[in-house]
């Protein structure tokens, strides 16, 4: 191709074809522009005038939360919201003024919402008021024509039909705040977001995907027609492991007290009930809590916002003797037949560590020591084990770390050891402190959930599960998006005989003559358990009546239970703060109520029955020939 005349004809032909293609395509483009700008120009000009084609968001319906049997625990209901589109209102301050006149001063400062939204495009809706009552809705509707740009729209509103029930576990939703807007994608001002509990933890499943509509509006902003739309995708429904009826019974049993009840299935780690009292009403948060309400809740001395089941850490008291017994048998510092004399106290250095029973228990073996909760026996065992071994076993039972149940701000409690004390206080461990820990006092603390999980591990033969509260998340069409499986976090690794001997003794606690947990006894079901009374403050030698101790210094009452002892299917942990009396007296009856409900016993008038069973305890304990189960 040294000469342009040598250019092959095919080459020329193709260039000509390319030029033709270009001219045709430009011609077509011209035709297209003619159609848009000339033929339909009028229409597009009028559409452009009031920004007549708008995008309206259709909020996704948040998934509901159900209990294990499909009972609705958290629901949505329609709410009438007062909405303003500044673009259509023309004169926004005047419209706000007119609205304030119409609704009265109790509607609050409507201009605040407008001020908050000043950086958003003027055709976007601003929600001025949520959840209008019927009267106001009618008022707005009848004055529609004097209020351009103002409308009442129906939106979903989160509702918690059972109020305070399981409030800490379910959590609540609230308006997304600035920090959440910055850290999470896909949220816009005014959106709702799960703030605590399951609502927060399962936000991504519950939330759903917003849809939207392209709508054409008239010059007043009224919807003329929907041009096109994407339906919203509802959030997933969350099916919990919780049993609503058991939860209600547990909360009622705690009525008037400060404390917590946790019920679990030891075979799976599923939480059946998790009560914390006092509680709060999540509906108050869902509608937008007022400042004074918030202050009242957060400054309440009874701490209704605290989820005691997972955030409250208490010395486990004598319930910790379960861990001590296991450690002692596994480490071989005692045998089941080792007997230790209890004279009501143990002299240690210059101090005497008392048994709760000042008269002493006499000569006791492990079984008796658990049944009667003899402190001296476990002082001795503790001395033989040493603090670090005790600490190791406590950790094996899951103490000292959060259980990862899946709720924010879960506490792990404290398992003291030499290293821990060195790090925490820069002080060496004093041998006397080992004795306190041996009976679940001192630095040792745990949450009710941890104690339930610990009991579950003994009940199921040695498997430590991660407690969980969600069964599955399913789409509205029933397809399962997430299904939680049992997660084994540890194996106690104990000899079978160790577990059986402890279970046997725990059966005795409830069923033996003068067992400390006799008030948890149920005739139809073999219940095992352990009482605990944890001191808030070391008492003087002198006995003081509980009524005479300031409330905040009164003892906490514990009871952990499982049933049926032969093949446990439920465990219950009860904690009552500042009960002032022992676990056997205060906590055991609560556990009994929950267990009875679980097994469908004494449906009616639980209180009456409780009194009756009280009598039974005494009758039967003497009749029963043996307190030991034939394992």
């Amino acid at each position: 191709m040294t000469n342009r005349h040598e250019m092959p004809t095919e080459f020329r032909r193709r260039l000509a074809a390319a030029v033709t293609i270009v001219l045709v395509v430009f011609g077509l483009t011209t035709v297209r522009l003619w159609r848009l700008q000339i033929s339909e120009g009028d229409r597009y000009r009028s559409l452009s005038e009031h920004n007549r084609i708008r995008l309206k968001r259709v909020r996704a319906t948040r998934g509901v939360i159900l209990d294990r049997d499909g009972e609705v625990l958290v629901d949505n209901r329609p709410s009438f919201d007062l909405v303003l589109v500044p673009e259509d209102a023309k004169d926004v301050p005047r419209t706000i003024e007119a609205l304030t006149r119409l609704l009265g001063p109790e509607a609050g400062d409507l201009s605040a919402a407008v001020a908050d939204a000043r950086n958003r495009p003027p055709f976007e809706e601003i929600v001025l008021l949520r959840d209008l009552d019927w009267e106001r809705t009618v008022k707005i509707e009848t004055h529609q024509f004097e209020l351009p740009g103002v409308s009442v729209q129906v939106g979903p509103r989160r509702t918690y039909p059972f109020g305070e029930m399981a409030a800490h576990l379910l959590g609540y939703v609230g308006q997304v705040n600035q920090r959440e807007l910055e850290s999470r994608s896909g949220y816009r001002p005014g959106d709702l977001i799960g703030k605590t509990g399951a609502e927060r933890q399962w936000e991504d499943y519950l939330r759903g995907i917003d849809g939207g509509q392209q709508v054409e509006v008239d010059a007043l902003g009224r919807k003329l027609r929907v041009l096109s739309e994407v339906p919203e995708t509802s959030g997933h429904n969350l099916v919990l492991t919780l049993d609503r009826d058991l939860q209600i019974v547990a909360e009622e049993a705690l009525a008037g007290r400060e404390g917590s009840v946790v019920a679990m299935d030891p075979r799976t780690g599923e939480i059946l009930a998790m009560a914390s009292r006092p509680a709060f009403d999540p509906n108050v948060f869902a509608r937008g809590i007022r400042h004074d309400e918030w202050r009242a809740l957060s400054e309440d001395q009874r701490h209704p916002l605290r989820s005691r089941a997972i955030q409250g850490t208490y010395p486990p008291g004598s319930t910790f003797k379960i861990v001590m017994a296991a450690a002692a048998l596994e480490e071989g510092v005692i045998t089941p037949f080792t007997r230790i004399g209890c004279g009501g106290g143990l002299r240690f250095g210059k101090r005497t560590f008392h048994c709760w029973r000042r008269g002493g228990h006499g000569s006791v073996d492990l079984h008796d020591a658990l049944v009667h909760s003899c402190d001296v026996f476990f002082y001795q065992v503790g001395q033989r084990l040493g603090i670090d071994t005790i600490s190791e076993y406590a950790k094996r039972f899951g103490l000292g770390v959060p259980t990862n149940v899946g709720i924010q701000h879960e506490s792990g409690g404290t398992v003291p050891s030499r290293d821990w004390k060195e790090q925490r206080f820069g002080e060496p461990w004093y041998p006397g402190e080992t004795l306190s820990v041996a009976i679940g006092q001192g630095y040792m603390t745990s949450t009710p959930l941890q104690m339930a999980n610990l009991t579950a591990a003994i009940a199921n033969g040695g498997t430590l599960f991660r407690p969980r509260m969600v069964k599955r998340a399913e789409a509205t069409d029933g397809t399962v998006a997430f299904s939680d499986e049992s997660v084994v976090v540890g194996d106690l690794g104990f000899k079978k005989s160790t577990i059986l001997q402890i279970r046997d003794a725990l059966f005795g606690v409830v069923n033996a003559r003068r067992g400390t947990g006799a008030r948890a006894k149920i005739d139809e079901i073999d219940v095992g358990g352990k009482t605990g009374t944890s001191q808030v403050r070391r008492l003087s030698k002198k006995r003081v009546k509980p009524e005479n101790i300031p409330r905040r210094y009164r003892d906490h009452a514990w009871f952990v239970a499982f049933a049926p002892v032969g093949a446990p299917e439920v465990v219950v942990a009860v904690l009552v703060e500042h009960a002032g009396e022992g676990g056997g007296k205060v906590a055991a009856p609560i556990a009994r109520t929950v267990l009875a409900k679980y097994f469908g016993i004494e449906d009616e008038d639980a209180a009456m029955d409780r009194v009756a069973s009280f009598r039974h305890d005494h009758d039967h304990a003497t009749v029963r020939p043996t307190t030991r189960l034939p394992f």
């Binding site: 095919e10 080459f11 260039l15 270009v22 483009t29 120009g41 041009l227």
Partner: protein, 370 residues
């Protein structure tokens, strides 16, 4: 170059340069209108306008620099240029910066470089070089064209993972245009069409429904009425409401209300057509048409195959981008995110296309030498 041939100055294509500058200047004015809230803002107070003017100046320097040397030197180093572009594309996933859900930019401190824009011209240079030496002249079999597909595939794959399907599609279109011009047998096009037509449904059937959905939205985002579909409607309203004479410079209303998130880049044409009307749009289209026809003319009378294919390929880049961009804003083609050449805001695109123009001018200038 030691002795600047006076014939060179004589054959300098002032028309192409003039068209380029006029379109670029109109682009700057429209960017100003699209990004300034009210009409009283000063021109130089708008950072986007200042930046675009700086890019235009850089592009002009690049254009003139490219004109100065004989393009046949480029032929010798064509694969080196190509390799450099590929290297830049390789760096993108490694050290690139994110924007709009994709990793497309290399941060150079003051400015960001978008290597995929350079790849458009880079692939054309490599293709021109390949077909310059290809024995098949005007009768190119599929086998002869195989290396061309490799030259397309390497940068194509790298851009696909950014992801930027629109640019990959454009480079493929340009590649096929060059193949057409270079003389790939029409039968070969038929075979390629048949293979593509057969492969796509098979590949499609292997995708899960949600993946298909994702591909569909990606290929034609206007199916999503809340996202791109909404932008297209607003863009059509903007263009249509311009009617015959337009609303006047700075008097467009659609774009001022932030209906279009990409009003100064991909949807700049709708801003222009709203303010300048059908008349303005026709003038702009005419400018592009003249530029493109001129580019083909240069290709037709180039001294050698390298020059011819180079001029044709660069012209094809301009043509396809103009048509796809305007078609997209006018609601007849899918929203794929390609700029309007010389017009849309964007430094890499503007300078790369201007350098491309320099190559055409260069080829035209030297057609009488030797």
């Amino acid at each position: 170059m030691r002795q600047f041939d006076r014939r060179l100055a004589y054959h300098f294509d002032w028309l192409l340069l003039g068209l380029t500058l006029v379109v670029t200047a109109s682009g700057v004015a429209t960017i100003y209108s699209a990004t300034t809230g009210s009409a009283d803002g000063r021109l130089l107070a708008n950072p986007l306008v200042v930046r675009q003017m700086a890019y235009a100046a850089a592009g002009l320097v690049g254009l003139l620099a490219v004109v100065l040397f004989d393009y046949r030197h480029l032929e010798r180093h064509a694969y080196v240029v190509y390799a450099l572009v590929v290297l830049l594309l390789v760096l993108v996933p490694l050290i690139g910066t994110m924007g709009g859900g994709a990793r497309r930019w290399l941060n150079l401190g003051v400015v960001s470089l978008q290597p995929s824009e350079l790849a458009k011209v880079g692939v054309v240079i490599a293709l021109a070089r390949y077909f310059h030496h290809s024995p098949a002249t005007g009768d190119c079999s599929l086998r002869d064209a195989l290396p061309a597909f490799v030259l397309l595939g390497i940068p194509g794959g790298l851009i696909l993972i950014q992801p930027d399907l629109g640019t990959v599609g454009l480079i493929a279109l340009v590649c096929f245009s060059v193949l057409f011009f270079a003389g790939l047998r029409l039968r070969a096009f038929a075979i390629l069409g048949a293979i593509g037509g057969a492969a796509i449904p098979i590949l499609w059937s292997y995708l899960r429904p949600y993946q298909q959905q994702r591909v569909m939205t990606f290929l034609s985002p206007e199916r999503d009425p809340l996202g791109a579909g909404y932008h297209v409607i607003q863009s059509k309203i903007a263009i249509g409401s311009g009617e015959f004479w337009g609303k006047g410079f700075l008097d467009g209303t659609q774009n001022k209300l932030h209906f279009l998130p990409e009003q100064h880049t991909d949807f700049i044409f709708s801003v222009f057509a709203e303010e300048w009307g059908f008349v303005g749009a026709m003038v702009l289209l005419a400018a592009y048409a003249m530029m493109i026809i001129r580019g083909f003319q240069v290709a037709g009378r180039a001294k050698d195959r390298f020059g011819a294919i180079l001029a044709f390929g660069v012209t094809a880049i301009v043509f396809w981008q103009v048509i796809i961009n305007i078609g997209m804003t006018a609601g007849v083609l899918p929203v794929v995110g390609l700029p309007l050449p010389f017009f849309s805001y964007g430094g890499s695109s503007l300078t790369a296309t201007m350098i491309g123009m320099g190559l055409i001018i260069n080829v035209n200038m030297r057609r009488f030498l030797f």
